[in-house]
């Protein structure tokens, strides 16, 4: 999340930019599900178990908010596939974010990290935005120096940072974001019933209804897969050995309000960054993995259920009859040509939802290695990998 804060993110990231130096040799072992490629890791931030463990501790530490009320996990809760269940996130000071918390499931592969900022592609950079952004305030930290100072008062951090980065002034903002990014890259979900069906060829893993739903998902009339494709059921993904992918964003006709911009501010999509009219309303197609537990949906949480989401796409855009957002989304001039609308029966809708439900990875939602608990990240739950 936090695409609105591009300017803040860039300003903040300049003085704390991560130095580019050769990657140290690493013997890190990924715990990847069948069918999943190896994530691409920045050369200047190689993975290590110790760094992942440090990043996990930081991710769950409320010291990362100015008033000690929130951590990264407040808006990215494991049991909700690292979302928060809210339509729009609430920051540590109570300020509402314009958009919803995006799932961190498989974020290691994401070519775009936020709802609508094409230039935010590195987890190390993105982590700065919720920490220090002030429009809106999320974690609300005063400055990188302030965070470093408060972490230096914790003996355990002195020990852990020293073990990862060496004894020479290891607690720096660069090293904080590196560790958090390493942990985030381990947030991998790929052991759902769908995966057992698809990669293990276990036909008993999914129902006949789900298989019918899968056919609908990949059918020409619905074409869900054209935006939510590949192993991650998402837009463009990056991984080791693949040419870097261009992030994709789509206007789905969720709004078509009167005026120059057809989407209600401040959520005007990629337009907010580029100021190009054709980018109005363009948002990322997030992963559909664990989608059943990440309601409400869309960038602003304005659709409460999967049923409503399917209705939106079946209509080729949402019609809002009254109120400030009144408009026929179907007729949005910059709507994606993929969102044409389709006819779907109640039974087919049920099948489609049955398919989407197969993407819920229960082992991921309760994996101790991703939790705030004491378990070492190296200890994977037995039904993973």
């Amino acid at each position: 999340m936090i695409p609105r804060l591009l300017a803040a993110g860039l300003v903040l990231s300049t003085p704390v930019a991560i130095a580019t130096r050769a990657a140290a040799p690493t013997d890190y072992v990924w715990h990847l599900p069948p069918g999943f490629p190896t994530p691409r890791v920045p050369a200047n931030n190689p993975m290590s178990d110790a760094k992942v463990a440090l990043g996990r501790r930081l991710f769950y530490d409320a010291r990362l908010s100015n008033n000690g009320r929130q951590s990264c996990a407040t808006c990215h809760s494991q049991v909700l596939a690292f979302t928060d269940g809210r339509a729009r996130a609430i920051g540590s000071t109570g300020e509402e974010h314009p958009r919803g918390s995006m799932s961190l499931a498989n974020v290691a592969y994401a070519a775009a990290l936020t709802w609508a900022n094409p230039s935010m592609a590195q987890l190390e950079d993105q982590a700065l935005v919720p920490m220090f952004g002030d429009h809106p305030v999320e974690l609300g930290l005063a400055s990188p120096a302030d965070l470093v100072a408060r972490l230096k008062t914790v003996a355990k951090y002195a020990e852990l940072f020293g073990a990862v980065y060496g004894p020479d002034d290891p607690i720096t903002i660069d090293n904080v974001t590196r560790a958090i990014a390493c942990f985030e890259r381990t947030i991998i979900s790929g052991r759902s019933p769908y995966d057992r069906y698809h990669f293990d060829r276990d036909d008993s893993a999914v129902s006949d209804a789900a298989r019918r739903g899968e056919k609908l998902f990949f059918s020409q009339p619905l074409s869900c897969f054209r935006c939510h494709g590949g192993f991650n059921f998402s837009g463009a993904v990056d991984f080791e050995g693949r040419a870097p992918q261009q992030a994709e964003f789509h206007n789905t006709g969720l709004y078509n309000i009167a005026g120059l911009l057809s989407y209600p501010a401040p959520n005007t999509g990629v337009y907010d960054v580029t100021k190009k009219p054709e980018d109005v309303g363009k948002f990322k197609a997030p992963t559909l993995r664990n989608i059943a537990v990440t309601a409400p949906y869309m960038h602003d949480g304005s659709l409460a259920t999967l049923d409503e989401v399917i209705e939106h796409y079946a209509a080729g855009g949402r019609t809002i009859a009254d109120g400030p957002y009144k408009g026929i989304g179907h007729d949005n001039p910059y709507k994606s040509p993929i969102v044409r609308g389709f006819t779907i029966s109640a039974e087919q809708k049920s099948d489609l939802i049955a398919f989407l439900n197969t993407l819920t990875d229960e082992a991921f939602l309760r994996d101790p290695a991703l939790s705030s608990g004491p378990t070492s990240p190296a200890a994977r739950s037995p039904d993973r990998n």
């Binding site: 490629p37 056919k215 990949f218 059918s219 020409q220 009339p221 087919q348």
Partner: protein
């Protein structure tokens, strides 16, 4: 009838067709599936899954999400030859001005030139696949699909393939 009404009717028919297809149990659908080869061919045929299994088989490998995936099936050129399409030494004149429309049961279509499907002419490895990694195709893919291993994008990999129609350009 307005264009939007026409679109609505087409969408409705497509949805009803899809609904009928969805009602078929997967195993039954696979066993009863046929591939129609028609158009400008001397002997239009309706091939069954068993017919394809009995023809010379070809395996191609695609890179999907960073991993190798093996598809097995029959060269499209061989399937077209079975229906008497003009291929091989006769790939001149009107034949090189012909194309093939590959159509799926969900309405999706893709076009190949007849020449590019002819192994003698181009070394084509484009196949009608019925197997992935040694197993039947998934419901959303099969029972038959096109696999075009030299395409850099997958858009012509027509899934749920139902028909190959040879079309000769008019003189």
């Amino acid at each position: 009838m307005s264009s939007s009404q026409k679109r609505g009717n087409v969408a409705s028919v497509a949805a009803r067709t899809l609904a009928c297809l969805m009602l078929l149990a997967p195993a039954v659908a696979a066993a009863q599936a046929t591939l129609q080869v028609t158009g400008s061919v001397s002997s239009p045929v309706l091939l069954t899954a068993a017919d394809l299994k009995a023809m010379p088989r070809t395996t191609v490998t695609l890179k999907q999400d960073g991993r190798d995936v093996k598809y097995e099936g029959v060269l499209v050129g061989a399937v077209l030859a079975r229906a008497g399409a003009t291929l091989g030494r006769d790939m001149t004149g009107a034949a090189v001005a012909s194309y093939v429309v590959a159509s799926a049961s969900d309405g999706y279509r893709a076009v190949f030139s007849l020449a590019e499907l002819d192994p003698e002419f181009t070394g084509s490895e484009i196949i009608v696949a019925d197997t992935v990694d040694g197993k039947p195709l998934f419901d959303y893919q099969g029972p038959f699909r096109i696999v075009a291993p030299r395409d850099t994008r997958g858009a012509r990999g027509v899934r749920m393939l139902q028909k190959l129609e040879v079309v000769r350009l008019p003189k």
